[in-house]
Amino acid sequence: MTAMTAQAATLDDVKARGELNCVVTTGVAGFAAPDENGRWEGFDVDFCRAVAAAVLGDAEKVKFIPTTGKTRFTVLNSGEGDILFRNTTETLSRDADLKLTFLPVNYYDGQGFLIRKELGVNSAKELDGASICIQTGTTTELNLADFFRVNNISYEPVAIETNEEGIANYSANRCDVYTTDASGLASTRAALEDPSAHIILPEIISKEPLAGAVRQGDEQWADIGKWVVNALIAAEEAGVTQANVAELAAAAGDNPDINRLLGTEGNMGEMLGLDAQWAVRAISAVGNYGESFNRHIGPDTPIGLERGLNAQWKDGGILYAAPIR
């Protein structure tokens, strides 16, 4: 029965339902986690809200579906979720074999190692014999096996299901090391009792381009996801912020890039099957890429991640949105 929704226009389903089903993690602070009021907050969550704002006109009309590393693709492919923003690495096999379509990368990441300072380890190559907590069903699990095999060092993998379990096992000293994407480690470290007692080792052993995803086979829906992500990145590049977006969208200005983005020139929204104000709504809901980054995971937050690779291409990063035209 879900086969129908897999093929048919997801856009129509979402509009008819009046709610976007967004697949997120079970909780990675800064990326997607419920706050003390039970409201989902975070960098990935903002992308869900931006899509809801663009499609439904209301950033609050999102149902968040928390998933583990193992259940995420099944939830998406079965039609239970419409779109996925869940620290998910884009890979060939997921794209081609798991039948996903990836959206533009929204966070360039790499796998790192979190360890207690008191153990005096300075490099991942000194981890011979260590017990390592690892989330099952992730690319990090495969990278880890490869890294230790190639470097000919041994380890004990301790398989865990969710980030919370990982934190619990690491805190209880069941494992010496917790490994996942460096961004996730920063988030985990911030959640530990004494973050300063733990360090993230310098080695980044993999490329982890984290991207949103939709089911394969619905081009229109994939385009919407893709261009909402691009719009938030382009908005930062063009200097459109949550504060000035309403003013800039009121009338066509002298910057044609901004005009096209905000629908005062051309018919970009119409081409996507949306209206002209799609990007305006997305940006006023969550701000541009940089604003969302700084609000949830930036240097001033407990997570404290630098922009690094995720800076705009003009600023030395590799964030490079395709032109909206």
Binding site: Q7, K70, G129, D146, F148, E156, Q216
Partner: protein, 398 residues
Amino acid sequence: MNEVAIAQPPQRNLVSRLWNDKETRSVIIQVIAFAAIFAFFFAMVRNAIINLEAIGKDLSLGFLWQPASYDISQSLIDYNSRDTHFRAMIVGILNTLLVAVCGIILSTIVGFLLGVFRLSKNFLINRLAYVYIEYVRNVPVLLHILLVHGLIVHSLPLPKNAVNVSDTAFLTNRGFFMPKPSMEPLFWGVIILFMLGIAFTFWFRKYAKQVQDATGKHYPVFWICLGAIVGVPLLAFLVLGMPLTWDIPELSGFNFKGGMVIRPEFIALWLALSLYTAAFIGEIVRAGITAVNWGQSEASYALGLSRSRTLSLVVIPQAMRIIVPPLTSQYLNITKNSSLAIAIGYMDIVATIGGISLNQTGREMECMTIVLLLYLTFSLLISAFMNWYNKRIKLVER
């Protein structure tokens, strides 16, 4: 017109007559039920095929021969991340069987003790067993598993402060490290003696029965057999100069190296499953023993049989007939409940082929079908064995 009017009533009668006939009615109901079941499964399979087609996936087991690419911490056979998904599945199957077999053994022992304690005339023992059973069987087994795992991981020390058992075994929150025996050639002698001991036992039991039937003379069969199976090989082991070398675990870096290790995940799952199921078995055993009429024991005593021989020859054989069928269900439960391993990361079938392999390859339909068939096979095998055993001890009816 008249003819039609006359012809109609018998037609109505035909249906109601068929329906009112007990035999045909049961045939009709069976045909309908069979058709409904068939239609249900047909719809399920059809739905699965359509859905797989819709997302462009095919059904194929080819992925089983691809490298699994992930590591497994506790494995009974050699395994590394370059081995295939198939081998990872075998590792999972063996781990499931290991915890199921160990669980069945421990739960049976503890369960029988609990059952006997519950019948004890000693107030304290009786009440303790009662409290234990009522507490344990009224808390979900998943909580027991998490509790035991939490206790091991939180309360036992790190490897560098390990609880040291005379420098050979070490208890840590990473697992119990023990010396690993490796055989020298002379050890085969001990193994052969052990095998001979078992063969002797089979023969001796028959012989003792013949002697008893013929002369009434009673041999201490249990002690003689124990001596043959354990005593003689043990003596040979000592005489041959203990032909085993021990690989003793040593602390190096983060963890112990060498020796054998039992991981906390296995211990947690094994203990929790066994102790939980033991509570149920205890009640089954109590029911079985209570169901044997007191007159049976009295009659046995009147014949001059001792208390222990009354138990082993009169009470237990009859109790077993009541105990075995529900005991089978408990054995099946323990095997199936072992899939809760996923909660603590013990690498059983569900965690390997039904978990990581499934996720890394995206072959949900194939992997879940394999897992389902494996559990079905285990359960049917246990059932078949227990049914055979049940038949063997059944009351011989003439």
